[in-house]
């Protein structure tokens, strides 16, 4: 953890300062840039393991900076922006952002997101089964086990849950999920997705009205959050 370096690209000095204090006290190394130009240059020369990028930079649109970065930068990028417009968030995710956070943000939340994207970029998901507190999913037998007994899941429900599990901690947009599960012709039919998510929650959540596994990212998509247990 101590060797992890984070590049912060943000034009607001106060935000850079806050991020520096927050990240350093959690043991991360911090490199700072206050324009798109400086940021791209810093990303090229530094050995940063993660980039925190503001969308509202003075010299260039953050979405374009993101696209330029993604031409060669393969490590995680987290967007930190005052833009709470869902379209901006979806395009940032489409442009290759791993996650996003809206200002004002809680620092605990930011640190959790950083841990999650760093974990996903290092750990391979190639395992035969994953066990969570309330259920276990076995990829080789395509079955879900709850309270030591297999539970009947329809094909779609199983595929949807598998997609979530394999992208633990990551925001999946509605379009992405619809394309993966139902196919390209269905990417606008998000009503199906709402219904199936409600069905999944009824099966795996202790209280479907207070979901802890499948979290809604309003207007954007869903995020599967869970701690794997041994």
């Amino acid at each position: 953890m101590n060797n992890t370096e984070i590049l912060v690209i943000d034009d607001e000095i106060q935000i850079r300062k806050l991020l520096e204090i927050t990240l350093q006290s959690s043991g991360y190394g911090v490199v700072k840039a206050n324009t798109a130009k400086e940021g791209l240059a810093a990303a090229a020369v530094s050995t940063s393991d993660l980039i925190i990028l503001d969308l509202g930079l003075p010299d260039e649109n953050g979405q374009i900076v993101l696209k330029k970065l993604r031409e060669w930068y393969v490590k995680p990028v987290i967007i930190l922006s005052v833009k709470n417009n869902e379209d901006d968030i979806v395009s940032a995710l489409d442009n290759g952002a791993n996650d996003y956070l809206i200002k004002p943000f809680r620092t605990a939340e930011l640190l959790a997101r950083i841990r999650s994207v760093l974990r996903n970029s290092t750990v391979s998901q190639d395992v035969p089964a994953i066990k969570y507190e309330d259920f276990e999913i076995n990829f080789s037998t395509r079955s879900i086990i709850m309270n030591n007994a297999p539970v009947k899941f329809t094909t779609t429900q199983y595929e949807l849950l598998t997609l979530f599990v394999k992208n633990e901690g990551k925001v999946l947009t509605h379009q992405y999920i619809l394309g993966e599960i139902w196919g390209a012709d269905y990417i606008t039919q998000s009503q199906y997705l709402r219904v199936f998510v409600a069905q999944l929650r009824k099966k795996i959540e202790k209280n479907p009205n207070k979901p802890t596994y499948i979290i809604t990212e309003s207007g954007v998509g869903y995020r599967f959050v869970a701690k794997e247990i041994e």
């Binding site: 869902e86 779609t156 429900q157």
Partner: protein, 360 residues
């Protein structure tokens, strides 16, 4: 005001055409019945056309008057169909007509100008009043949390005074609460200006109403901890196509209001249904309710109940109404029996058919 707006709505080019048409039609009608009426009467009838001038600008009005004079001379003076300006009385008649038309035109133009000015002044006055009220409540609502933040940080930054850990923690808590309050007020202001600007674009997408309501209740956990909340969704799977961001704000404001303005242990009930292709949301509480004499004002901007002791800009309910109406919806406020408030919201929305919810 009416003539002012009507005049604006008629294009200049059409005004000339209109005056020509009126004179031709009127002259033809009078000419047909000419044998049955005296020529003085025809004069008066032709002049009745001048009433239409209220809707015309000064120049089309004068053109119409000259046309009327010519028509009168051509049709109703012997010899017919010939201009005969040799007789002094014909010349005088046309001159009189012209002067009347001119005076008419000038007076009407002046009246229109005055009305236009009044209209501009009135809307300007409303705008000034709006910003006065806005600034007054803003300076209070924003400065209070800012004062808390500045004061608390000053305390924390003091080197010479030793603050106990628990006090330090309390100050930090205060800063956190004040910041969140500031953020909420900014959100309200942004929403108000979105509505005010008229550029609010709807983003409709499918939304699971059950999930939305529980999400809001979760967000309001702190505010609702001393209240009893009942949620009832009348359909098995209520998934409708709406602007979920706007509905979320509407429900948030209404439930937050109910929590703030009712006593502890009050009951807040939220009902969602789908009737006649409309999403129906009912938010009811058994608090004191709004005073009867204030019922008509609750949706106004900056409305604050007389007997309210809580803080706020008074924008919440005006945003609720704006966000409902921008989706072609309606909102009603009723007094609950024996006490309390009921808000009923109806928004036209597409709904998912139960068939599509079945899996293979």
């Amino acid at each position: 005001m009416n003539s002012f707006t009507l005049q604006n709505s008629i294009n200049k080019k059409y005004q000339y055409l209109l005056s020509l048409l009126i004179i031709i039609i009127l002259s033809t009608i009078i000419f047909i019945f000419y044998n049955y009426i005296a020529y003085e009467v025809s004069f008066i009838l032709l002049f009745s056309a001048l009433y239409i001038y209220i809707f015309l600008d000064i120049f089309p009005a004068i053109v119409a008057t000259i046309l009327a004079g010519m028509a009168w001379d051509l049709l109703f003076f012997k010899p017919h169909f010939l201009f005969d300006l040799h007789k002094i009385e014909n010349v005088i008649t046309i001159l009189v007509l012209f002067i009347i038309g001119l005076i008419n035109g000038i007076i009407i133009t002046k009246i229109k100008k005055i009305k236009k000015r009044q209209f501009v002044e009135r809307s300007l006055g409303q705008t000034v009043k709006f910003y006065d009220t806005l600034l007054n409540s803003l300076s209070h609502e924003l400065r209070t949390p800012i004062s808390v933040i500045v004061g608390a940080t000053d305390n924390l930054l003091q080197q010479d005074i030793k603050i106990s850990d628990s006090d330090k923690n309390n100050l930090l808590q205060e800063i956190s609460i004040a910041s969140l309050r500031l953020n909420r007020q900014v959100e309200n202001l942004l929403n108000t200006s979105r509505l005010q600007s008229g550029f609010l674009q709807l983003k409709k997408d499918w939304c699971d109403i059950n999930e939305l309501i529980h999400h809001i209740i979760f967000q309001l956990t702190d505010q609702l901890k001393d209240h009893v909340v009942n949620v009832s969704i009348k359909k098995d799977s209520l998934v409708v196509k709406i602007d979920h961001g706007l509905i979320e704000q509407v429900l948030f404001n209404l439930i937050n209001n109910a929590a703030q303005h009712t006593a502890v242990h009050s009951v807040i009930s939220i009902v969602a249904d789908y009737i006649d292709e409309k999403l129906v949301l009912i938010i009811e509480d058994n608090g004191k309710g709004f005073p009867a004499e204030e019922i008509n004002q609750v949706f106004n901007k900056f409305y604050r109940s007389q007997n309210s002791t809580t803080v706020g800009l008074g924008l919440g309910l005006s945003i609720v109404k704006g966000f409902v109406e921008v989706q072609d919806g309606s909102i009603e406020l009723h007094r609950s029996i024996p006490t309390g408030t009921i808000f009923i919201i109806k928004i036209p929305a597409e709904s998912i058919s139960p068939k599509t919810t079945e899996d293979e």
